[in-house]
């Protein structure tokens, strides 16, 4: 029976080419119309620590939420087996290197002592020998896991012999061994895999050739021995074209569509890949025609990044930065200047695990309230957060529109999960995209200009170089932008800034700002934001299968919060049937909604281990919450 969904996991040491598996297989599956979602987990480390990619392929044609157990684990090394042995579904598959069989748990220097200790205890409890052999044996006997043991060494030797590569070079084909095995077990057709490989190795013909042959050979060998036990049913639908990209990539593309002309950044995980992408496109050339140019500046620190972004925004350039927690922390002083001065800047904020350096390569949603109140004093700001790749695409463009229309900073809150997850995103509807520049003036009458008329919160904004000249200051200012400490002026100017927020609240449709997914008569409600949307929607589907009819309230704009809509939806539910789902400890969205509406949440499903929320644990969590638990803490994932 063909599968409707396939979940698999591929693990190996950081720096050993692991990413290649996702970069090849994601487009390969997508090219056959499957929805793909692939998450990458890695340490704050360059080479040596354990890393893995967790993929879901869905015949629905949509990228669906990640879940455990997986039907297949592909292990590049012994550490992967020790780490993920328990993630394999009974009857699932383990692809591994026979050469690692003798490896003992205690030999794995790169494994954190915590995990090692836990495993030792667990193994001894279960009577498992703490070696690869022992684990594999246990899996086979107790879990009915099928073992696909390959001799990596033999394969490398063959490569050396056949292609004359060096031993070191041969090692680099490690990922293709797994790609081959997965291809074989899933019966993915050769053309599709070739497509994936070409995409990845396009420029390097010889490497491409070897890879193709290697993958085909291993696939064939595996197919011979195991058949195609993990074959997916043909795709049942979905778009005709996919964009296969990470969240970082998608946002970068969107910024380019949105007309970005200036981006400044200081390197930081998981944000800088976005800037690197934009820099690679600094000159937008299509068919030899130049469509625009983007200045991308790597600055000396984040203070400089945001400061220069504000400067660029004053010239009329669509201008933004991308950062994560520690970087944003350094930006808050300048953020206040932009807020004070009606400057349209965009900050793309990828949340990672805090506090402080925290878990710098893991995800979180713990910076919502910080974003909302960051910087001393009071000024309006817009905060958007996207639920999936496609939303992130539209929101990244909309962020510029909102910033210019309402003349205030826009923070686009994303997280490491989205940033690094590769998704098969439907081709965005670019015909529907509109660029709205508000009252930006590129040409204005020569002379000094009253930039801040008292009676116009949203005034015309001649940019630097427009002909008019203008003044800006961080001090309270008069209509011309000059320093003014007069109390009457203060009263007016302070309120003038906040009036923009009232206008934004009036003009931005509430049904853009939040969305209710599910039947009108749902009998429980999940409330969430950001990438929680992905597992939440899938969990609801599963729960529906179990007879539990729920809905998901997705909050996409955190400021201005669509409070009338939230209030009216929340008020139709019994508070005991309303569950907030967040990647943090204190329930930040819940706090925010309470603050604005008075609605007190009673049920929380929270996760703060830095790993994504998985569908299976969310399903369980919801059931627990509905049957009485007030706080359910999720923690699945290595």
């Amino acid at each position: 029976m063909a599968l409707s969904d396939l979940n698999f996991l591929v693990g190996g040491a950081q720096g050993s080419g692991l990413e290649t598996t996702a970069q090849v297989l994601a487009p390969a599956f997508a090219s056959r119309g499957y929805g793909v979602l692939a998450n990458r987990e890695y340490f704050s480390n360059i080479v040596g620590r354990h890393s893995y990619i967790h993929v879901r392929v869905s015949s629905s044609g949509e990228p669906k939420g990640l879940t455990y157990p997986v039907q297949l684990v592909g292990a590049m090394d012994a550490e992967t087996i020790f780490t993920h042995w328990d993630d394999i579904a009974p009857g699932g598959y383990l692809v591994y290197d026979l050469g690692a069989s003798r490896t003992r748990l205690i030999q794995i220097a790169s494994m954190e002592p915590d995990l090692k200790k836990r495993l030792q205890e667990e193994f001894s409890k279960l009577g498992i020998q703490p070696t690869v052999e022992g684990v594999v044996k246990y899996l086979e006997e107790e879990r009915k896991v099928k073992l696909v043991g390959l001799s990596f060494t033999a394969i490398f030797n063959a490569l050396v012999q056949k292609y004359g590569v060096t031993r070191a070079q041969a090692q680099r084909f490690r990922s293709s061994i797994l790609i081959g095995a997965i291809t074989g077990l899933t019966g993915l057709d050769e053309e599709a895999v070739a497509f994936g490989l070409e995409r990845r190795f396009a420029a390097r013909k010889r490497v491409l050739e070897i890879n193709k042959e290697l993958v085909a050979a291993i696939a064939e060998e595996v197919r011979q021995e195991y058949g195609e036990p993990l074959k997916l049913e043909p795709s049942r639908g979905g778009p005709e074209e996919y964009v296969i990209a990470t969240g970082n990539d998608v946002v970068a593309m969107a910024k380019i569509v949105g007309g970005i002309r200036y981006q400044a950044y200081y390197p930081i995980t998981p944000a800088s890949d976005e800037s690197v992408f934009i820099e690679a496109n600094e000159s937008l050339n299509v068919d030899g025609k130049n469509l625009g140019n983007i200045v991308v500046l790597q600055t000396e620190d984040e203070i400089s990044a945001i400061s220069s972004v504000i400067g660029a925004a004053l010239t009329g350039a669509r201008s933004s930065t991308a950062t994560s927690g520690p970087g944003f922390s350094l930006m808050v002083e300048a953020l206040g200047w932009a807020g004070k001065n009606d400057v349209p800047i965009v900050i793309t904020y990828y949340q990672r695990g805090g506090p402080s350096t925290g878990l710098p390569t893991r995800g979180s949603q713990s910076d919502l309230l910080f974003s909302l109140f960051a910087s001393h004093g009071e000024f309006p700001r817009i905060i958007l957060s996207s639920g999936d790749h496609l939303e992130a695409f539209y929101d990244a463009i909309e962020a510029y529109n909102l910033a210019e229309r309402f003349q205030m900073p826009v923070i686009h809150l994303l997280d490491k999960f989205l940033a690094n997850m590769i998704a098969s995103m439907p081709m965005p509807d670019l015909e529907g995209v509109k660029i709205e520049r508000g009252k930006t003036l590129f040409k204005a009458p020569r002379g000094p200009w009253k930039r801040f008329p008292r009676d116009e919160p949203l005034a015309e904004r001649p940019v630097l170089g427009s002909g008019a000249w203008t003044w800006y200051t961080g001090d309270e200012n008069d209509e011309w932008g000059h320093i003014d400490e007069d109390p009457v002026n203060r009263l007016i100017m302070y309120e003038r800034r906040w009036k923009k927020m009232e206008i934004a609240d009036r003009e931005i449709p509430e049904d853009f700002r939040a969305h209710y997914y599910g039947p009108k008569d749902a009998d429980f409600l999940l409330v969430g934001w950001g990438s929680v949307k992905i597992p939440a929607l899938d969990a609801l589907k599963e729960l529906e299968g179990e007879g539990l009819k729920g809905a998901y309230l997705h909050v996409r704009m955190l400021s201005p919060l669509p409070k009338r809509m939230l209030q009216s939806i929340l008020s139709t539910f019994d508070p005991d049937r309303v569950i907030v789902v967040e990647h943090n400890y204190i329930g930040q969205l819940a706090k925010l909604i309470t603050m604005e509406t008075g609605f007190m949440f009673k049920k929380f499903i929270l996760k703060w281990t830095g790993r994504p929320i998985y569908v299976h644990e969310l399903v369980e969590g919801v059931k627990e919450a509905l049957s009485g638990r007030d706080k359910v803490v999720l923690s699945y994932g290595k």
């Binding site: 119309g33 044609g61 400044a264 625009g292 350039a317 995209v433 170089g465």
Partner: protein, 317 residues
């Protein structure tokens, strides 16, 4: 556009202490602008925070009065997004060489074409006279409870070490001399800095006009003083001489141009070398990003071309 008829001073009252050296700096600036015929619409005076940083409000041109220490960082974005603009940054010694020193150094490394004017009064004026980074060790100005125990930064040496290609020192009471330095700095292509000795009449009772009188001398009065690098091979030697000169302090204090290197590419040049479409006359900020109808210039077709590597056609069987 020419400057005919432009009054370069606004009507905003300068609330500096009577006698403050900052007045001389604004006078020299406006004179220089007048003589250069700078277009107020295409000139931007940027500043940080401090007494000195109030400057933009007194000048009838675009003025961007930012936050403490970040003037150069703001100016960087302004200039790179619209290289057609003439950008001048004013700030205090605290602003530029203390809290903002990372940006000061970074500008030198980039050699962006802009002019930095340091109001060097050896104190934090606006916060009531604490020691600034240019106050020397052992000196005790009026507000200090005890003599300063931090060593001073040498702005000239730091600027040269950082890569500035025009480095000068002026004196705020020698308005005409300073005006000439400002003109040269603006006309110079690259990062230019002028360290302006600026008496703070309220808090600095050491470096007063009295003190400077008789001690200051002009570098250009020495006919052998040639700060300009005319050939790359001269660079090291000119730098060494300028550094040597920068140490002079006490009884004789040089003002004038310490170092000029017109041969080094500006950052804008460097961008243009990498991306020949980066056009100073049609700057990024002014490019069309959407059609009349609001549709982005990057439409569905352009999108597919630009990002072809990310697009996958789904072939369903």
């Amino acid at each position: 556009m020419a400057s005919r008829g432009v009054t370069y001073r606004t009507e905003v009252w300068s609330d500096w202490c009577p006698g403050c050296g900052d007045f001389g700096i604004v006078a020299a600036m406006t004179k220089a602008f007048q003589e250069l015929g700078l277009d107020p619409a295409n000139t931007v005076v940027v500043s940080g925070i401090g007494c000195s940083s109030k400057t933009p409000h007194f000048i009838n041109m675009n003025g961007v009065h930012t936050i403490h220490g970040r003037g150069i960082a703001f100016a960087t974005g302004i200039k790179l997004a619209n290289p057609r603009l003439t950008v001048i940054v004013n700030g205090g010694d605290g602003d530029m060489l203390g809290i903002g020193v990372a940006h000061f150094v970074a500008l030198g490394r980039r050699n962006i074409d802009m002019t930095v004017i340091i109001h060097d009064n050896q104190v934090y004026g606006l916060t009531k006279g604490q020691a600034s980074p240019t106050l020397r060790r052992g000196e005790k100005t009026k507000s200090l409870p005890a003599p300063n125990i931090q060593d001073a930064v040498n702005p000239i040496a730091l600027a040269i070490a950082s890569g500035y290609t025009f480095v000068a020192r002026g004196y705020s009471l020698w308005v005409d001399h300073l005006k000439e330095l400002i003109k040269q700095a603006i006309q110079h292509k690259g990062a230019a800095v002028i360290d302006v000795l600026q008496p703070c009449v309220t808090y600095n009772d050491i470096y007063t006009a009295e003190f400077y009188k008789g001690r200051l001398y002009k570098l250009e009065d020495d006919p052998n003083w040639d700060p300009v690098v005319r050939d790359p091979s001269e660079e090291d030697e000119k730098i060494a001489r300028a550094l040597e000169k920068s140490k002079e302090w006490g009884n004789r204090i040089p003002v004038g141009v310490f170092y000029v290197n017109p041969l080094k590419d500006t950052y804008e040049d460097r961008i243009a070398q990498r991306n020949p479409y980066y056009n100073r006359e049609a700057p990024p900020a002014f490019e069309e990003i959407a059609g009349e109808d609001g549709k982005p210039i990057i439409g569905p077709d352009e999108f597919k071309r630009l990002f072809a590597g990310y697009i996958v056609k789904a072939k369903r069987s």
